[in-house]
Amino acid sequence: MNFLTTFSAIVFKEALHLRRDPVTLVVTIAIPIFQLIVFGYAIDMEVKNIPTAVFDADRRAGSRELIAALANTEYFDFKENASSEAELREAIVSGRARVGIHIPPDFTAGALNGSGSSFQALVDGSDSTVAMQAVNVVNSVGLMQSVKQMGRVDIEKLPVDARPRVLFNPDLKSANFFVPGLVGLIMQIVTVFLTAFAVVREKENGTIETLLATPLSRGGLMLGKLVPYAFVGFFEICVVLTLMRFVFGVRVNGDIGLLLLMCFVFLFTALGLGLLISTAAKNQAQAMQMALLVMLPSVLLSGFVFPRESMPAIIYYFSFLIPLTYFIEILRGIILRGADLSSLWSQALALAVYGAAILSLSTLRFSKKLS
């Protein structure tokens, strides 16, 4: 009875706060839209057109064929002809090129007389993604050239033909991989901050003093603080999902109802996390610090950027403590693979249990005494 009384009173009050402060509300809703568009376009893991320099000391049929083969892959964009090894190296050091191809003077001759020929590829390792891709492509082009020379046969068809086929994301568009994760991340950032300030603000403004002298229920207070923001968050997630579909062209292959339900579960968990921060922090600056502390592991360890499978064991198990981990798996599952609850139930359950635990914890942590 006391719980419901407090709950409805707090919802009433928080709704008034929201209405009185339309600027915050608009910013809260606009920021995720802005972030999604900017990051959605900026994050692109597809490596194409790597700026490349070449020092061709051979300048005969063999070297020309090699350069053409490399260029044909579309991974390399030959921007510069160096006239010495030193110049080639300089092109990489200065950043004009990320890859330098050095073809020695006996390249064509060696191939023709059967003594073998070699070329060197210098790869700038400062961006590991680009470097790895470049090494792979250079290796496979080298292999193709070798096969060609060894057989001198019709090389249009290799004896063994590997045909990988990528499911769910046939074009390997990184938008498909990133945007659903980005939706989860952005939602977490916004929602945690929404409630992280909710209780702290009362402490800072001194309003907590009168509030604590009333017979209010702690659970009612916590849930009452959460629910209005859950509505804001839910509206927001709908906007962001719409953008994902129509701006980035990422289709939802699974059940939209299930997707929205899962979003709601996640909202409660993330808002609960914000409340927990709010009960621990003494002022808004502290709350901000704590929220940022939650943010970084969420970005790096949730599987948003790096696959969790390749993390060291400790970090891998640690990532189970991050609610975003489950949500990203659910998002990618439903959106990309069209998965249903029968295959996602463990993540869904984990998220729900997490949310309930975190809300209970923040309720227990919230003391009705002044410190």
Partner: protein, 317 residues
């Protein structure tokens, strides 16, 4: 008369600092209890413990029979609390603040609506109902805070320096309101620095250096033997040149202490110091004595005397 508030050796420590030490007293139902003491003496800490905002370190207090240690949540439903600084929502209107607190206290629909109207009416803020509380001036904020604290018709209302920083007219209005509530049977527990407010209370407690020094009706405090030790008298003199008169009187033989009180001088002197001695002392400096009479000590005299006694005792110890 039954004691609606009862404190028994209530103590609160903050780390090694003792803010309130072994404070015991009782407050009768329906009285206006003035809780006095200098800044930092522990007034607010006592109020916060009584309202269930702070846990006592030791001792206990009972409000209407319920212990603040064990039943603070039950107590909270039957008390109103007006904190020292304005602690309502600045971005909510007067009426919205009232509606929120009414709901928190479990008032509903018709009763809620009726109580909001009554409280606004009583505290005279009906005309400001649509104004954001953050834009109200000091006196109006205090009225709103008081309206909030009496919304659920509590038996006891705690007011922590309700008149600090508001103008004299607003101060008088607020006291009118307190008398009104007291007449309706509400017990009021008020802290203040103002001596004229203390005189308006039915009962007074004086706390100094974390300890309760004295407690009782104003009239009882004025006849305390510690305030007027055997062989001393309280006198009041007036003169047209009051500051010169004060320094002359202070030097006169037989005068123990003298201070300006309103437009006259309050004198504590040995028995036998009379109008003749006073006139002689003033004439020596060319100042004339306009009137002279024996008086009871004022509350200010009482507190100053008690404080000095205590400090002297401390210094001796």
């Amino acid at each position: 008369m039954s004691e609606i508030i009862k404190l028994d050796k209530l103590t609160r420590k903050f780390g090694s600092m003792t803010a309130v030490k072994d404070v015991s007293f009782g407050v009768e139902k329906g009285s206006i209890f003035g809780f006095l003491g200098p800044n930092g003496s522990g007034k607010s800490t006592v109020i916060r413990m009584l309202c269930g905002l702070l846990e006592p370190t030791s001792g206990d207090a009972w409000l209407d029979g319920a212990s603040v240690r064990e039943n603070s949540e039950r107590i909270k439903g039957n008390i109103g609390y007006m904190s020292q600084s304005f602690s309502l929502y600045r971005d909510l209107t007067v009426q919205e603040n009232l509606a929120f607190y009414g709901k928190i206290y479990g008032l509903r629909r018709e009763r809620l609506r009726k109580r909001i109207e009554e409280s606004m009416e009583l505290s005279g803020i009906t005309s400001k109902r649509k104004q954001l509380s953050g834009t109200l001036s000091g006196g109006w904020k205090q009225r709103l805070a008081l309206a909030c604290s009496m919304l659920h018709e509590p038996g006891i209302i705690f007011l922590d320096e309700p008149t600090a920083g508001i103008d004299p007219v607003a101060r008088r209005d607020l006291w009118e309101l307190l008398f009104q509530l007291s007449k309706e049977g509400v017990t009021l527990f008020v802290t203040t620095h103002y001596m004229d407010e203390a005189e308006r209370c039915t009962h007074i407690g004086y706390i100094f250096l974390s300890e309760l020094m004295v407690c009782g009706k104003p009239a009882e405090l004025k006849i305390l033997p510690e305030v007027t030790p055997a062989g001393t008298v309280w006198l009041e003199a007036s003169s047209d040149r009051i500051t010169q008169a004060l320094s002359l009187i202070k030097k006169a033989p037989g005068v123990l202490d003298a201070t300006i009180f309103g437009e006259s001088i309050h004198i504590r002197a040995r028995e036998g110091f009379g109008e003749r001695e006073a006139a002689r002392a003033l004439e020596a400096g060319g100042v004339s004595l306009e009137s002279f009479r024996a008086v009871k000590p004022s509350l200010e005299d009482v507190f100053v005397s008690l404080t000095r006694e205590r400090l002297k005792a401390r210094g001796a110890a």
